[in-house]
């Protein structure tokens, strides 16, 4: 089985929500991966749509590089709504 292709499985649970990574399957090709993913990850109506992607096709950030890579977003508090203080009289905004 290890000589089969490893696919990552993404399932959309309800219309309107994003596909979410749920796990992986081994399969001879993408069609078989879809069928296996259905049997494995949607036995109880968990999904309305499935994507399978060969794991080798995914480019990811390196686990331990987390800090330097995400550094640029660390010091920009003004990007958050809570940064802006408004008087209570303004009400909810």
């Amino acid at each position: 089985m290890s000589e089969w292709i490893l696919f990552e499985v993404f399932v959309r649970s309800k219309h309107g929500l994003n596909h979410k990574h749920v796990g992986s399957v081994h399969a001879a090709d993408a069609n078989m991966a879809l069928e296996s993913a259905r049997d494995l990850y949607t036995r109880r109506n968990e999904g309305v749509s499935i994507w399978v992607v060969p794991s080798a096709q995914i480019t990811a950030t390196a686990g331990d590089e987390k800090e330097p890579f995400f550094d640029p977003s660390q010091d920009k508090v003004y990007r958050h709504a809570s940064f802006y203080e408004l008087p209570d009289e303004v009400g909810h905004m």
Binding site: S2, W4, S24, D29, R43
Partner: protein, 330 residues
Amino acid sequence: MYAQLVETGVKRVKSLEEMTPEERAFQERIDAEIKIEPKNWMPDAYRQTLIRQISQHAHSEIVGMLPEGNWVTRAPTLKRKLQLMAKIQDEAGHGMYLYSAMETLGADRDAEIDKLHSGKAKYSSIFNYPTLNWADMGAVGWLVDGAAIVNQVVLQRTSYGPYSRAMIRICKEESFHQRQGYEILLTMMRHGTQAQKDMVQDAIDRLWWPALMMFGPSDADSPNSAQSMAWKVKRMSNDDLRQRFIDQTVPQLEFLGCTAPDPDLKWNEERGHYDFGPINWQEFYDVLKGNGPCNRERVSTRRKAIEDGAWVREAAVAHAAKRQQKQNAA
């Protein structure tokens, strides 16, 4: 419990001061309850321990299908047969989730399955007992899956991300297993003939102690526990998990109108827990070593399933290649 006696290969837990900077950063991350993910640095012993633990857990799910498979063709009604098949399919699914989690550590699925078939890898001792009457299907669901839930609920907080996520998925599905098992027994006790009620008691008498053994040896005899707990690949001690299981199971046992084969089982007001009699650990070690009633049969059934299925896997690859060729030509 689905993983018993997992070797860590570590004789003594290192203190923070003794660790290398990498080991220390890793341990501090665990202490802060931050999950370890596949691409993070981890000590080799942590990786190897997890591969052993997760593969053992996965093997248990897969071998665990066999005692139940024994009753698919003999289920008393079509409804029970469908439920049993759904449960068995879930166990296969749980095995797959776990093998996938194991593969994120760099382990090879076929290689680990080979270890199961050659007797090098363990699986839970409980699946080496035979399922002799229909009530066993109820008792397995109630007691065996019940014990599994106690263990797995805690493992949802395990430190390795993919393992933790697999546990969360599995726990969602397990409660169906336990409830369907208990309902089988309840139906037999409420509406059954005397012979059927006797079958329920017989099943409990045979499976009670093996179910308690699922949590593994007593804390005093678990040399690997300290390191596993420090790494948070294990979150509660064997004895604590066992006590929790007994405390929640005895009232259910009484509700059934059955008894446990343990004369020492009684409520201890002072401790706030049930006391119970000594466990026959010799039996546990014998079964784990391969000498339980069904060890040989279980492993040879698994081996045969893989060997007999070889042509299907080859055909799938051939079919995929042919389809690819057609697509390229078009």
